[in-house]
């Protein structure tokens, strides 16, 4: 009798373990699919980014930038076009680090790529293609309706400290595109919510058409209602033109700076 119970328990454990492994496998596969939908491994991606930051209370500021991205090497180059006061500033990302170019001081600063872009809720690292399958593991999933989208909701935990946020919740629609992200601190505090309601397909891959980001750490009570800093990012004119290697260098950044 005792042997039978032990055997049954072992079978149940094995079945649970297999089910868990299957779940983990399917979540990993979904993360890989999510990454692949928006990566351009065979060419460069260029686009114009318009970033409008609205402070709690209503003040707005607009930054327009040209973005060049090479997913095969994990590099990107950002050139500020507007506002006039910042025109000529540039950002070059190599690996996990970033070069900032100040055309007034004629100097480069080497820093972390996790910082805010032009003091908005958009992070420098947000210019990257996703790499969820490398940087995170999914610890749970569920199905949920998000407006008109049927989504898989994945809770992710970071596998390394290269990422900006240690915990992320993703809403992935049926077509494998991330529609919503919630970024959390290690203690579980909600830091930022990003909505990507619509995408544009260029070649075989997808680029967000617009993103709306709410920074939960920047809020103010206005008229009895809590308002958050809200950043809207519009991506226009995507181009897959191949660019020379020298585009992703400090010298190029300095040369084109105005």
């Amino acid at each position: 009798m005792k042997k039978t119970i032990l055997l049954a328990m072992a079978c149940m454990a094995a079945a649970l373990s297999a089910a868990y492994a299957q779940d983990a496998g399917s979540r990993s596969a979904l993360l890989r699919a999510v990454d692949e939908r928006v990566a351009f491994p065979d060419t460069d991606l260029s686009a114009r980014y318009t970033i409008v930051k609205r402070d709690p209370g209503g003040a707005t500021s607009t930054t327009v930038a040209a973005m060049f991205r090479r997913d095969a090497t994990g590099q990107f180059l950002i050139l500020i076009l507007e506002p006039t006061a910042d025109k000529g500033k540039g950002y070059l990302k190599e690996g996990d680090n970033l070069w900032l170019y100040d055309p007034v001081g004629k100097s480069f600063t080497f820093t972390s790529a996790k910082e805010r872009f032009q003091n908005s809720s958009f992070r420098n690292s947000d210019f990257n293609a996703y790499n969820f399958s490398r940087d995170y593991r999914a610890v749970s999933d569920r199905s949920e309706k998000l407006g008109k989208f049927d989504c898989d909701v994945l809770e992710l935990e970071a596998l390394n400290d290269r990422v900006t946020f240690p915990k992320v919740v993703l809403w992935v629609s049926d077509d494998g595109l991330v529609r919503k992200m919630e970024d959390y601190s290690l203690s579980g505090q909600l830091m930022r919510t990003t909505a990507i309601p619509s995408y544009q397909k260029v070649g075989e891959r997808w680029v967000p058409m617009s993103m709306v980001i709410v920074d939960h750490l920047k809020s103010r009570t206005v008229g009895g209602k809590v308002e958050y800093e809200r950043t809207t990012v519009t991506v226009s004119g995507p181009s897959l033109k191949k660019l020379p290697d020298s585009t992703y260098t400090k010298e190029y950044l300095e040369r084109v700076s105005r």
């Binding site: 260029s46 114009r48 040209a66 060049f68 006039t84 006061a85 025109k87 190599e94 690996g95 996990d96 680090n97 001081g105 004629k106 600063t109 080497f110 820093t111 972390s112 996790k114 805010r116 407006g147 008109k148 077509d175 529609r179 919503k180 919630e182 505090q189 909600l190 909505a195 309601p197 619509s198 995408y199 544009q200 397909k201 070649g203 058409m209 709306v212 709410v214 939960h216 750490l217 920047k218 809020s219 103010r220 809590v226 958050y228 004119g237 995507p238 181009s239 033109k241 660019l243 020379p244 290697d245 020298s246 260098t249 400090k250 010298e251 190029y252 040369r255 084109v256 700076s257 105005r258």
Partner: protein
């Protein structure tokens, strides 16, 4: 008495602008707030714009910078005025009003930049600067060419720059012993860079505006490399009258903090002198913090060392006020200076500043006997400045219009 109201305040302004607010909103950080804000964007998905297929524009956005505008004019107008008052000398015990002084000052500067790009491989750039200072004898005629150079790219492999331009080496923000190219803006230089070799290799040949023979020429080379997330850089510069100077730089980001170090050596007439700086930079959402330690050992073996800390807060106590504080201290003679300032931008392009400098130490202390910002361009055109105040206060209003 005029007072210097240029770079020190500008530095404070920058620090303040870089600064971040001490307090995060009370509404954040709580479970209730998280719950309330969790679905804050969900309404965007009720009737979103449809996903679309767009044509690859094939646009080369580099053209936006390179040739879209054949000739571009730009620049800025900057004007600043203010008042200051305080002790230029410490008062005596029997007369607390001795040493008191006050001053009024104004300053304006116009920069005009011309940038011509006739093709994707060539560029000519010039910057002209004129300053106006009603409290001194000269006014707008303080005209200078701050840079004038041509760029030429050879097969996207070698970038050459020829003319008068500034190059900056080293990483120190508060102390800059690693900038072996300091003063390069007054040289006529040729720089050839190979950007795809390592993380950039550059060679320089430079001559002063008045060349007195080959002995006055300077030569330099620098190579950058990022290895396993660590920035490494090495550079050398040689000029017969200045000797051979070398620089090694290291920087790495660890736990969200930038950590950097520069070390330099100079060989001249069979003697070596050394200097260096090590520091950190940390940025939070509304707070920025720099710290640096500087050291120098001269050819006789004497050590001079200093430390500096700069901190800035944006929107202090949820107001539009920014606060910046910069402190420098000489560990060699005990002198130092602390400048604190609050800035506010009431209108676009306009910044108001209220601040207070405090200088301490003996009369022969470094920060008492020196201008506390030796590289301030305004100290070259104004003999007296805020450094005259051992303890004071100032109020300024600045207008900066970039175009």
């Amino acid at each position: 008495m005029s007072f210097r109201i240029g770079r020190p305040l500008a530095i404070v302004l920058v620090l303040a602008a870089l600064a971040s607010a001490a307090a995060q909103e009370a509404a954040t950080g709580t479970a209730e707030a998280d719950e309330a804000s969790a679905g804050v964007l969900d309404d965007l998905f009720d009737e979103p714009a449809a996903d679309t297929v767009v044509a690859d524009t094939g646009e080369d956005y580099r053209e936006t910078y390179v040739t879209a505008e054949k000739v571009a004019l730009g620049g800025s107008f900057y004007a600043l005025g203010g008042v200051a008052g305080g002790y230029v000398l410490w008062p005596t015990e029997d007369d607390w009003t001795s040493g008191l002084d006050r001053s009024l000052g104004a300053y304006a500067k116009t920069t005009l930049t011309l940038d011509a790009r006739p093709s994707s491989i060539a560029r000519v750039r010039a910057s002209f600067v004129s300053t106006f200072m009603p409290t001194s004898s000269a006014a707008w005629p303080r005209f200078s060419i701050s840079e004038l150079y041509g760029d030429y790219a050879i097969a996207e492999t070698v970038f050459a720059r020829l003319g008068q331009f500034t190059s900056v080496w080293g990483q120190g923000r508060l102390f800059a012993p690693g900038d072996l190219m300091s003063g390069s803006g007054s040289y006529f230089s040729l720089r050839a860079s190979v950007p795809t070799l390592l993380d950039g290799v550059s060679f320089y040949a430079m001559t002063p505006v008045t060349m007195a023979g080959y002995q006055s020429l300077a030569y330099a080379a620098k190579a950058d490399l990022v290895l396993a997330g660590t920035y490494l850089s090495g550079g050398v510069r040689y000029r017969e009258a200045e000797g051979l100077r070398g620089l090694v730089s290291v920087k790495r980001v660890a736990f969200g903090t930038d950590l950097m170090a520069d070390a330099t050596v100079r060989w001249l007439e069979d003697a070596a002198s050394w200097s260096g700086v090590a520091g950190f930079f940390r940025e939070w959402d509304d707070l920025k913090l720099y710290g640096e330690y500087y050291w120098a050992v001269d050819a006789a073996g004497a050590l001079d060392h200093k430390a500096a800390l700069a901190v800035g807060f944006n929107n202090i106590a949820d107001t539009p006020l920014d606060l910046g504080v910069k402190a420098r201290h000489s560990l060699s003679d005990g002198s130092g200076i602390v400048v604190a300032a609050v800035t506010w931008s009431p209108w676009r392009y306009v910044t108001a500043t209220v601040g207070a400098p405090f200088i301490y130490g003996g009369d022969d202390g470094y920060y008492v006997s020196h201008s506390y910002d030796d590289e301030d361009e305004d100290t070259r055109v104004q003999a007296q400045g805020l450094q005259d105040y051992r303890l004071g206060a100032f109020v300024t209003l600045a207008l900066k219009i970039p175009f």
